[in-house]
Symmetry: C2
Subunit: 666 residues, 2 copies
């Protein structure tokens, strides 16, 4: 096994606040066809993603810190440092991980923007957690100290290695952004302790929640130490053999411990666990040249996307076990689609894209970015969806629950309102760390070619092979507007490539290169290879007008329904937009009338669904076929407004649905 020296070191430093320079980024495979761009190679300009990144920086990071401070999750580290363990400890056993995820987000944010406040918070947290580290490198506020359960006594549910994994990820971000700051040493000692405890001759175990695998590989890449990658491989290889202890009522499937990952054809069990494990497996496969393992994850991705993935890109069909369902089990109302599973799906797809260069991975990332990642946070960045269902029947959740109060922890991953924090609060910090480094997923470099994967207003100054620099300015109102104007700002004096992703949903896309006639583009890649000059202008036109989308007939839960998408954005109907007296349970749309384009959304021709006459106490099943009780064209017609799904519940509580019943479609 050979570890490539980090490309960042070749590229040299550009931004003063970033140790590795502009190419610092979360994922740096030692092999694979492409590299992602660095934090400093792309700067977002006002637009969809810049708004979200700015809100993340200005509000979310501090919001997360404040909640963890308020709830005592930070003080848990002080308790260890001061020998005050044994009493009641606030937070779940995995609350340390939230602190580390916030630290990772702070590091990327500092790397991206040079923000001093983010740095100060990062340094404060470093000092605080550093004091809690044991002599031998073990660092956990819930296990292993006076009055606590012993180290690694509950690998099934203790989440110790999971927490350590996030610590390593924060260490990776710190090392790449700031160099050998104290957190890196803390992470190194923690990683060494894991290798010592779980390496050859150590515990033959795995962690109930994968994360250490992906983290160890990246830490190995960042530090150039192969032993961390070896340890990740051990964890990947051990899993699926029922080694997890103690046995949990949740059963081995929940933990993906019933089948080795190499043998599986699809993802199953707890969705975030399955996806984190897959991301780690891709990393191990790439570093070790293990093509079988890589092929296994590609196969699982295909089958899962084909049969277990929502229109939003969301994964996880069940609240129970936060899990994947069976093939075709994709209920819109009880879709779990955990925000973290969206983040995890991006982690997997990004790694597969870098390994293979295949466009479909970037396609799914776009879908997930716009319809899961963008859906979770509120506009002010201080409240979040944990689950992202595709239908909400009741305005405001279950009986008696009402709205989630804005200043209260939401104990459950339910409800029609974004909540400021959760008892299990994995999602806010996962959103934060992803948004802080969002642009690193927007483009990639392969040799002397730059690929644009995600379209948003930005400036790019990317290093191609051979120290060639390629600079672009991208101007676009995407996704509201489908026109993407790319102006070359800097280019080598020789031919280089510009590769543009044409999304899989785009029918009728076109590219105009300078004064040439527009050429039609099929979904996939459009590649321009020539000598570019500063001032050259390319215009990509993507057809974002609203379009009807139909589910596979095997998805029982949305049979006889359609959805409307607009560009990469899934639309939805919200009860706040309905005419008075019309219920979202009683809407029927007419697919013969094309949807009208309206702002970010659309308008559909709809009718009020005729429903059977109510008979007190009668079951909702009868001897009359719907077509008999609901003749074509019956029901009061009205115009149904659709808005982006990512913005639902921003105008107050509402019922919502993405899939809309259609007359005469079974």
């Amino acid at each position: 096994m050979t570890l490539h020296p980090s490309p960042a070191h070749e590229a040299g430093s550009g931004a003063a606040h970033c140790q590795e320079g502009p190419t610092a980024r979360p994922v740096e495979p030692g092999r694979g066809r492409r590299r992602g761009v660095g934090l400093g190679e792309v700067s977002l300009r006002p637009g969809f993603w810049q708004t979200r990144q700015a809100v993340n920086a200005a509000a979310t990071l501090r919001h997360c810190y404040d909640w963890m401070d308020r709830l005592g999750w930070l003080e848990n580290f002080d308790r260890v440092a001061e020998g005050r363990t044994g009493g009641p400890r606030p937070g779940w056993q995995f609350s340390d991980s939230e602190v580390y995820k916030l630290m990772e987000a702070l590091a990327w944010e500092h790397g991206r923007s040079g923000d001093r406040a983010a740095l100060a918070l990062f340094e404060e947290l470093t000092a605080r957690i550093g004091r809690a580290q044991d002599e031998d490198g073990y660092l956990n506020s819930c296990f292993g100290h006076e009055g606590q359960p012993g180290r690694y006594t509950d690998l099934s549910l203790g989440h110790e290695l999971y927490c350590t994994g996030y610590l390593l990820q924060a260490g990776v971000a710190a090392l790449r952004v700031m160099g050998e700051v104290p957190l890196v040493g803390i992470a190194r000692r923690a990683a060494d302790q894991v290798c010592q405890a779980f390496g050859p001759g150590g515990i033959e175990g795995v962690c109930g929640h994968p994360e250490i695998e992906v983290a160890l590989v990246e830490f190995g890449r960042a530090t150039g130490q192969e032993r961390y990658i070896d340890q990740a491989r051990r964890f990947i290889d051990r899993r699926g053999h029922g080694l997890l202890t103690p046995p949990s009522l949740l059963g081995p499937s929940y933990f993906q411990d019933d089948l080795p990952i190499r043998e599986a054809d699809v993802w199953w069990g707890h969705a975030v666990r399955a996806l984190y494990l897959a991301a780690g497996a891709v990393d191990v496969a790439v570093e070790l040249g293990d093509d079988d393992l890589l092929a296994a994850v590609e196969r699982q991705w295909d089958r899962t996307v084909e049969r277990r993935t929502y229109l939003t890109g969301g994964m996880g069909s069940r609240h129970q076990d936060e899990g994947f369902g069976d093939d075709w089990e994709l209920p819109p109302d009880r879709a779990y689609c955990e925000t973290c599973a969206g983040v995890a799906s991006v982690m997997v797809a990004w790694r597969l894209y870098l390994a293979t260069g295949e466009v479909r991975y970037a396609d799914l990332m776009e879908r997930t970015f716009f319809n899961v990642l963008a859906t979770s946070p509120s506009a002010d960045g201080r409240a979040f969806f944990y689950a992202n269902p595709l239908q909400q029947r009741v305005e405001g959740g279950p009986v008696g629950d009402g709205a989630v109060a804005c200043d209260r922890v939401n104990s459950r991953a339910e409800g029609a309102n974004r909540a400021p924090w959760f008892e299990v609060s994995c999602c806010p910090t996962n959103v934060a760390r992803t948004l802080a480094a969002w642009q690193t997923y927007s483009a990639s470099v392969e040799g002397e070619e730059l690929a644009l994967l995600q379209y948003t207003a930005c400036q790019i100054r990317a290093s191609l092979a051979g120290d060639l620099v390629f600079g672009l300015e991208v101007a676009t109102g995407y996704p509201v507007d489908g026109r993407v104007v790319i102006t070359v700002t800097e280019a080598p004096d020789r031919p280089v490539g510009l590769r543009l992703r044409v999304p899989s949903w785009a029918r009728g896309a076109s590219l105009t290169d300078g004064g040439e006639e527009a050429r039609a583009l099929a979904p996939g890649w459009a590649v321009v290879r020539r000598v570019f000059r500063a001032g050259d202008r390319l215009v990509l036109d993507l057809p974002v007008a609203p379009r009807l989308t139909w589910p596979d007939p095997r998805i029982d839960a949305v049979r006889g329904c359609l959805a409307v998408e607009r560009g990469p954005v899934v639309l939805c109907a919200e009860s706040v937009d309905l005419p008075a007296g019309v219920s979202l349970d009683e809407v029927l749309v007419d697919p013969a009338v094309p949807p009208a384009d309206e702002g970010e959304g659309a308008v559909l021709a709809a009718r009020v669904l005729p429903v059977p006459e109510a008979v007190a106490g009668a079951l909702p099943y009868g001897s009359q076929a719907p077509s008999a009780t609901r003749p074509a064209g019956s029901g009061q017609p009205f115009s149904l407004r659709l808005v982006p799904y990512h913005s639902w519940a921003r105008r107050g509580l509402s019922a919502m649905r993405i899939f809309l019943p259609v007359a005469g479609e079974g």
Copy 2:
């Protein structure tokens, strides 16, 4: 408040083995329009229910005992008696309740059949639990002793009062069947301890799992002590005011503690909890003449049946929280429909029927008996479904789980195979106690009238008002056959009434009274009032031929589908009956061809659903409407066999579905 003397005492004793005589039965309201028949007033003859009752007696009762013995749930009582508490205790905190439910079943079984083995087991268990009772009457093997949490320190999840409730129910059965046997004294002391601890000046609390309410009322009825009913009223009144402590992550909705039962319009939260609470509320309302409370439960029943109940009568749409869903949230695949919720629904409907005499309650009981209660146990009575979904996509459950081994505890309420026992094993004993007394729900008496509610081969000798005796022999192959032949065996020498339930599903029923011409019957009641003579013969013809049933169009999850029912029995398709190469995910039925009647089931005209061509890694959503890709009449035709839902998975593992997609129905 006046407690009526038990009608059983009026009627005098018939069966030697039954203290209260033939009229002993589980529910004896002090008010209300009708009384249920007693255990000894109806004897089942070979047929659908007699088979199940006999298997229950011969196999299930001992099966339950053996599992609880094997798992140490019985020994838990010995530990308390012998001062050996404090070490590990097998079973959940509510495992005592299973012992009591088995004791109740044993008491009814002994009362019904005079079975000595049941009595011996009952007496052994009485001795065993009696030794564990504390001086002051408190009896629980999990709380309140050396090394255990203190009494009533976890009302939310401790289940202490829930366990006591089942003890009282066993006490009721014992008292009515055997008189003042030792268990009655044990139950009396336990009930007194509850009144002392939770009565005026005591703990202002409720139990997280209702059951004590319904049990205290029945214990009050059986013993003639009003104070138990008063205590039940206190629990009913306290609930819904957030008194439950300590707060649980499950939230107050789960426990129905967020809204007083008088104020609710529908059931919500954990289904079994909601239904047990409702049963207790009806009992309190009936005993105290609280018409508002009774009306509240009737209203909730109506709305729940109209919008939150499955075609099978099953209740509970969510695995998460084992809970009711929102209105119209009735997914077939993820239907929880816990067996215990079916039992609980019968408890509520029976009490409402006795209070009001309305036929719709008996209608739902029939549906639930045939499609939930009869579905759970295996033919040999030694394995059970916990959840009763209406669709199973995969033969044998999730990846890696395979079949549930026949001799292993199933830790989860999942899977496509009946399991012998569960970690949380509430269902087997609930089935057992219900089957042991099944005939008491089959008929009722009001004044000089006998009502037949459930049809099965049986002999009836019922006491009407004024010591009149009415004897009938019912001969029928119902539900396979729709003809019910009723022969009078004994009748008073004056006019009495015979009331027959005509099920709500029956279109074209008729009644022939002796040599008269058959008269057509509408669903509801058919009443014959005249002087009957021994040998008189009435023939009720119920149209059990297979019929198509369509869901309300607001039930999203089964849009574009139909189901087939045959009499009271819901049918289903099982993958074992499909032609080779056809998947149950790809079946389309033709409603224009009437279903053919075949044995217990039916045969439908079906076609193989054309599905979109697979594209590796493509999402299952596209731009083509199903009607475009699936022209009417396309797909290979075949005959689809349907079998009774209650018998599914009896021929081995299978995929299964009740709702079948229909071409051209949205």
